[in-house]
Symmetry: C3
Subunit: 205 residues, 3 copies
């Protein structure tokens, strides 16, 4: 049950990031193969890096066909809806946010199951949530979006701390994961819509 | 025999990619160390990523001196022939195509020997064939060439499907590898010289 | 004693690269999260790649809290001293040089303890020393600095060769590491201040 739950959450995160990668590629007018690579890399980049670093090999998307088939379906849907893309104004933001939250929580759970320290687990969760998007932006030859104007990491780290705080009171790990994921989404969304930013350190200079 | 054959094919792919990396670095006027890094990274990037993902560690180029010595020789040859580089008009294309085909086939064979599913194996083959060139272009601060105007992946995927199709009729894996590699090269070369492109999805918009 | 010594050297290299990453991010005016990511990635990128390639998993910074806590302290110091950054004229160079030397030596020692060939060990040392900085520059959307005008690799390779040369005469590995590290720093620093460059191969053209 534990693994089934987290596998499902990971798959939802993968779907969110897959569309985020596909849309970014389409906006940059890449060809159909470029879109395919961006779909895959954005979706599985963070999880692949996580698995390679903690030594969970072969990496998770190789262990069954679920992930690949899901990604191919996402890719075809993204291709088909290319012409409606202007309507997807806030879509990218929500896809990224959901993917971030889900990946972060799954990576923390996985790091714990590998016996790593909670602080290390939060770092792995943050890396896992952010690196799909970072690789996407690097491949598109841009400075990663997350470095520019966002509370990405703050959200991840808050969610991670919340995860371990709640574990002391709640024994059901799945419930803890859901709450922590919700916290991450809430922090990032409220930062955006309430127009909160991280402190600007350059005004000092 | 199986491993010897695939090791030889891998080494030929490494040589092709090594020159591809060195020439790209020379065209960008990098210094001699930059050329060295590009030679190595382009040649072993795809295979290193493959081995790190499937858990074949230490990665294959570390297991003997063959690869390193081969790369140093390629590097010196590339340096020495810098001044003739304008004559290498189509060279890059053929180096890339051969490297792609050989890496793709070797990675598929390796993935199977790790007990992975054929569809996963084709994905690993495609990643293995493409990522050396992608890393090369990212290091040179360009949007990867393969995203722009090519039938790169289509060739890899066709070759991979061919590989598993043929395995049902032919028992000699080496022969199957040769045919699949030939299919990949043929598809990519004919696409270029017959001026075939992937469908342009942006005309719809 | 062996591991304690090399762990300390690695930690010093990590500190040097952490500041190098933080300063580069501040110069590019990234936000506080961007600076955090650059601090971490520059500091642990080379070592993480080394561990993933040789199969020392989970990667070393995950095994205790030392590295993460050190990096957070470095990050906070870098943030706090942002306004003094113009005074840090030569700082980047020295941080990079020290990090390079320390990482190179530690990676060589680690590669030997994994039973790899000395030439492979030198290659791993060079990769380990250079890749933190390469990833830093790629994330900042620049052609890696080390490709442009430096004797980076020459220093690493000379230090590595020195390492194995000295091992034949001196049995104390720590002493050998110190001498090899000193050689790397000396070569790179004298190249800079005596204005030595690698030969320019483009004049031939």
């Amino acid at each position: 049950m534990f693994f089934t739950f987290h596998n499902t959450v990971e798959l939802l995160g993968i779907i969110a990031f897959a569309f985020s990668g596909a849309l970014a590629a389409i906006q940059k007018k890449l060809d159909v193969f470029g879109i395919l690579v961006l779909t895959f890399v954005t979706a599985i980049g963070g999880g692949t890096l996580r698995d390679m670093m903690i030594g969970s090999l072969p990496v998770s998307w190789m262990k069954d066909l679920e992930t690949i088939i899901t990604l191919i379906v996402c890719y075809l849907i993204a291709l088909f809806f290319t012409k409606y893309i202007r309507k997807f104004h806030h879509t990218m933001f929500w896809l990224d946010t959901i993917g971030l939250a889900f990946f972060c929580v799954v990576a923390i759970a996985k790091a714990i199951s590998f016996g790593l320290h909670p602080i290390v687990a939060v770092a792995i969760g943050t890396i896992s949530g952010c690196f799909g998007g970072i690789i996407r932006d690097v491949l598109l030859n841009e400075i990663p979006y997350v470095f520019r104007k966002d509370v990405y990491a703050s959200a991840c780290i808050s969610g991670g701390v919340m995860y371990f705080g709640l574990l002391k009171f709640i024994t059901d790990e799945n419930l803890v994961s859901i709450i922590a994921g919700f916290v991450i989404i809430t922090i990032r969304a409220s930062a955006r819509y309430l127009n909160l930013h991280m402190p600007d350190i350059y005004k000092k200079g």
